[in-house]
């Protein structure tokens, strides 16, 4: 695998309303990780703990959907700074498990989590300015910004992620991805 640009591909990753399982899956490509670091440099990613974008990126990999205002902010930043934006995993694509709350009013959710919950010492709905605001439902990423590709799975299989990165770096679209690695579970 080589990069045609003559430089490394800059990749940003993040987990919004996700569990970091998709990130784990990317680490699950075994020895191919050595090849990966030869051609890819991470920027704004938990992999190298860069918190802010310091340059424009070629590829953005987004795990998780949007459940609060901060997810929306980060997702919009990703759209702004990444040439190709990919929704990775069921949560980013369909809302996933967090979307099981869709249809339940926010007030009831707060009530259940912070007041009725038996494990709580005091019931109090957090209300700090610093906290991001909960959205009325989970939004899949492509309902908030334009998304260029989708890699389903919970998590997406490591082979799928590897194949997808190879396709993108070769300048091809994900429409060509082989379905044998695609699973929704």
């Amino acid at each position: 695998m080589s990069t045609e640009m003559g430089r490394k591909w800059i990749v940003a990753t993040t987990s919004l309303a996700g569990c970091f399982g998709c990130h784990m899956s990317l680490l699950d490509i075994d020895e191919k990780i050595f090849e990966l670091v030869k051609i890819v440099e991470f920027n704004k990613s938990p992999f190298d703990d860069t918190k802010e974008f310091s340059m424009e990126c070629d590829i953005g990999l987004v795990e998780g959907g949007c459940c609060n205002s901060d997810n929306v902010r980060v997702l919009r930043l990703f759209r702004k700074h990444c040439k190709i934006l990919i929704s990775v995993g069921q949560c980013a694509i369909t809302g996933g498990l967090p979307a099981m709350r869709n249809g339940i009013p926010v007030k009831e959710l707060f009530q259940e989590s912070y007041c009725n919950n038996l494990t709580l010492a005091n019931s109090l709905i957090p209300n700090d300015e610093e906290l991001p605001l909960l959205l009325d439902r989970i939004y899949p990423c492509h309902e908030v910004v334009q998304v260029d590709g989708f890699l389903p799975g919970c998590p997406p299989r490591a082979d799928l992620l590897w194949e997808a990165l190879n396709l993108l770096i070769a300048g091809k679209s994900l429409g060509k991805i082989s379905m044998k690695n695609v699973k929704y579970d």
Partner: protein, 591 residues
């Protein structure tokens, strides 16, 4: 739990309908009427008494709009929300009801005295806004009339006493107690001219069954409900199907928004329609006829029953008709609020006391229809035409209209024109000629054949009403240049979404998605890509749906995207190909 007394009363109702499973709708209607709701417990009792599976009764009860599990109010007000009602001031009427009663649509007043609901087109497009109160129609409603009606309901008046009958109607229809006007604007040679009962039937019997069918074939008569299937061929196929029993059904489930001609026919010329049914019965060797009457027209029920009785006493119906060996009788079955029952196989299911879901075809009703017997299902207007063909001959009928579209068509004209009402025209008239007739000017668009038909713009006003150009079941709705066409399309699409039976995927989900997609466009967040997506989805729903409803439901969108593309192009953003409908402010509102 249910009281022993109630159980007994339900059993009485079931007995009244002879424990017939095909009378389930009538039983449910009677229960709904008496108690104002049908609870799960009541359903269980009905199932037990009628020896039906509980899920069958529950399935049927929950299918129809006019049955409810919750109390619907001692007086249930159904406000018609069709596009023509919207044009005639629906908003003000809803506001008037809501503020008079202090409740919103869908609720009951606290004492369950009055329930407020909306409903799909009730066939009064020429006298909107119109409403139903416990099955009685009130038309041309104004906010001050709303106050009167509310006062009447609050003081426990009989609904009957709230009706204001126009003077001219009182004399003509002693058996009718309604404020519905007929608005016959243009009379023609088939319907609104001399009619003497019995002559056509006598002549048919002289001709013999095969010659009658031959005459109908020769006349070129095609179904007037909208699909345009050749009537003679339908009758011939039914007669050719081996069976011990055959049926004739008159499809009085006129639900296409904007049409009301069957209402007028059943008010003015029911005897002609019944004789037409008898004539069809004679031709296909059927002994039983059913008039399936939509629930919205139940105010005509008594009027029609009295007439049927009179026809029996005159030997035009019943045993040994006109002294011959031919026997035929007609009974009326009422619907309970479902547009889909206008589709002939859904109508048959409904008449059998089931959910009004269309059947898979083949087999067609002519070979396997009501109770799986060969059945002819015809529109009232078709039956009337057939009768006139027997009276005047097929050549005479062919001389009317155009070579490919013989005879006349009843148009239900409504919307922005000075003379809404019924027009009996010969096939082949141009849209422009008809617009002149009904006094429409500054016309932006005409919806031909209702929402499932075509919406045309001024450029196409020289097109003709005929099977080969603009085929129609009769609705002709005019929109002036002051109208917002997108909101009309929106109304129509919501209609299909709500009236889909839900049986097949594309119609069930596709229509919801089409409404959503249109709402995105209307919110200003649409792009040209979104328009392409609507087109693609619309065609998908059309191609893959199971019956005529889904096969035509995308028409309001597809047809206006074609004729009025500029309206859509004006409202979408052309500089981007993706726009999100996501709004952070409204999404965090509850947080």
């Amino acid at each position: 739990m249910i009281s022993p007394e109630m159980r007994l009363q339900i059993a009485e109702i079931v007995t009244q309908y002879h424990f017939e499973q095909t009378e389930l709708l009538a039983v449910l209607s009677a229960v709904q009427k008496k108690w104002r709701f049908i609870s799960a417990d009541m359903i269980a009792v009905i199932a037990e008494e009628m020896d039906l599976p509980v899920v069958h009764v529950e399935g049927t009860a929950s299918f129809y709009h006019f049955f409810s599990t919750q109390h619907a109010g001692k007086y249930t007000v159904y406000i018609n929300q069709s596009a023509t009602a919207e044009m005639a001031g629906l908003k003000e009427i809803i506001y008037a009801f809501e503020s008079e009663l202090g409740i919103t649509i869908g609720d009951n007043s606290s004492d369950n005295q009055i329930g407020l609901r909306t409903t799909s087109c009730i066939g009064m497009a020429d006298q909107e806004p119109a409403i139903l109160i416990n099955g009685t129609v009130f038309t041309s409603i104004t906010p001050s009339r709303v106050s009167e009606l509310v006062a009447g309901m609050k003081s426990n008046s009989l609904v009957r006493d709230l009706v204001r009958i126009p003077l001219e109607a009182q004399k003509c229809y002693p058996t009718l107690h309604t404020e519905v006007r007929n608005n016959i604007r243009l009379k023609g040679p088939v319907f609104f001219c001399d009619y003497i009962p019995g002559i056509a039937l006598k002549k048919a019997m002289e001709l013999g069954s095969l010659d009658v069918i031959e005459w109908i074939k020769k006349s070129g008569l095609r179904g007037r409900g909208g699909a345009g299937f050749p009537t003679g061929q339908k009758w011939a196929s039914c007669l050719a199907s081996e069976s011990d029993q055959r049926f004739v059904i008159c499809n009085g489930d006129e639900g296409e928004p904007g049409t009301f001609k069957d209402r007028v026919l059943l008010t003015e010329l029911p005897e002609m329609i019944f004789e037409g049914m008898t004539l069809a019965g004679y031709s296909v060797e059927a002994k039983e006829g059913i008039l399936y009457l939509r629930a919205e027209y139940s105010y005509l029920r008594e009027h029609l029953e009295v007439l049927l009785e009179s026809m029996r006493s005159r030997h035009l119906l019943g045993r040994r008709i006109l002294g011959t060996r031919f026997s035929f009788d007609i009974r009326i079955k009422e619907g309970a609020g479902a547009y889909i029952c206008g589709e002939e196989s859904a109508l048959i299911e409904s008449a059998e006391g089931k959910r009004g879901q269309p059947r898979n075809r083949p087999p067609f009703p002519v070979t396997s229809g009501y109770l799986r017997r060969p059945t002819v299902v015809n529109n009232p207007e078709t039956l009337g035409c057939a009768l006139r063909i027997i009276l005047n001959g097929p050549e005479w009928f062919r001389s009317l209209g155009t070579p490919a579209s013989a005879g006349v068509k009843l148009l239900s004209i409504a919307g922005d024109c000075r003379m809404p009402g019924i027009y009996e025209i010969e096939w082949g008239k141009t849209i422009r000629e008809i617009l002149d007739l009904c006094g429409a000017d500054r016309t932006l668009a005409v919806q031909i054949g209702g929402p499932s038909g075509t919406c045309i713009s001024e450029k196409e006003f020289d097109r003709r009403i005929c099977y080969s150009d603009l085929s129609t079941g009769g609705a002709f709705t005019v929109f002036s240049r002051d109208r917002d066409l997108l909101s009309i399309v929106h109304n129509y699409m919501k209609f299909f979404r709500d009236e889909s039976c839900g049986f097949c995927v594309p119609c069930r989900a596709g229509n919801v998605l089409l409404v959503k997609a249109l709402e995105k466009i209307m919110s200003g967040n649409g792009t040209l890509t979104d328009l392409d997506k609507i087109q693609e989805l619309g065609i998908m729903v059309k191609k893959t749906s199971r019956c005529g409803l889904g096969q035509t439901s995308p028409h309001p969108l597809l047809s206006t995207l074609n004729s009025f593309s500029e309206i859509y192009r004006d409202i979408v953003r052309k500089d981007v190909d993706y726009l999100s409908q996501f709004n952070l402010e409204s999404a965090v509102e509850d947080s």
